[in-house]
């Protein structure tokens, strides 16, 4: 096991393994998203309070969940890179940031669109869930801007890792904000005492969407990490051999 992990941390080995793994994550992920979309839009029963507007949950919840998962991936990888100086960890952190920013934008946009018919407003500045999620988008922007502002890769890795770790405090705040403070946003639906508060006909498509989005995120992350590894290792022998052999 340790040998496998040690090998995986080697950039050339990771580069090859990632290429093999991408379709194994992307294909089932897209199939699950296809099922979840169809079942969520057309098979799941209508919500008795929100009507068909509740179907936005099938893209809003997976994107909000991924916005936090991407941040934790970024922060944990950056932390590992900072403490154990594993180069690949910094590459993972750098690759996770733009994906996290996209999914945070999607969570905010779909939440805002959902909020208009349900709350009567696109945005509420006083709401802790909305505001803390927006802060996370700014943390992603800050992380990427900091990386872009420092030419030396190892210095950029260290500085951005500190920012990623400090910003990680925002993740539990986002998650628990609806319990700690008064919020327009509804409380937890899936992770709560007594199990999920949803009809199985609504729940299964949602779980399929969450799993599908997670698998696709994994594939996207691996694709981005491969590009990051290639850039960081561009002066090494194995990259030269790879390019000269026409490999991908």
């Amino acid at each position: 096991m340790w040998k496998f992990i040690h090998q995986l941390a080697s950039p050339p080995h990771f580069y090859r393994i990632a290429q093999i793994l991408i379709p194994w994550l992307a294909v089932p992920g897209l199939l699950l998203i296809g099922y979840g979309t169809y079942a969520g839009l057309f098979l799941a029963p209508m919500d008795y309070q929100q009507g068909d507007a509740f179907r936005i949950i099938y893209v809003h919840v997976p994107s909000a969940y991924l916005s936090m998962l991407a941040y934790m991936t970024m922060a944990v990888s950056a932390g590992i890179g900072l403490i154990w100086r594993i180069k690949l960890s910094h590459a993972v952190a750098a690759a996770a940031a733009p994906l996290g920013a996209w999914f945070t934008f999607l969570a905010l946009a779909t939440g805002s669109i959902w909020g208009k018919p349900m709350w009567g407003t696109w945005w509420e500045w006083g709401d802790p869930r909305l505001t803390s999620e927006l802060i996370m988008l700014f943390l992603y922007f800050g992380y990427m801007a900091l990386r872009g502002a420092i030419d030396d890769t190892s210095k950029a890795d260290r500085a951005s890792a500190v920012l990623a770790l400090v910003g990680a405090v925002n993740v539990p705040i986002i998650h628990f904000s609806v319990e700690w403070w008064s919020s327009l946003h509804q409380g937890p639906t899936l992770i709560k005492e007594g199990g999920p508060a949803m009809d199985p006909g609504m729940l299964y498509p949602l779980l399929a969407m969450i799993l599908g989005f997670t698998l696709v995120f994994g594939a996207l992350l691996l694709r981005r990490v491969r590009a990051e590894v290639l850039f960081r290792e561009r002066r090494t022998r194995w990259v030269k051999d790879l390019v000269l052999s026409g490999g991908n």
């Binding site: 507007a53 994107s63 981005r224």
Partner: protein, 52 residues
């Protein structure tokens, strides 16, 4: 199949289309980044080969 989503169609469809666009953009940008890095390395290797 009620495509109007009980009057909420504009909200629901916009969200699903937006999600699809984000997934496509993420994939496209990841591929683009890889292609650019790969091409830069190709150019550098060729330039080094020409100069030697």
């Amino acid at each position: 199949m009620d495509l109007s989503m009980g009057g909420y169609g504009a909200y629901v469809w916009t969200c699903f289309i937006l999600a699809g666009v984000v997934l496509v953009v993420c994939e496209w940008r990841a591929r683009l980044r890889h292609r650019r890095v790969y091409r830069d390395i190709e150019v550098r290797i060729k330039a080094l080969g020409d100069s030697q």
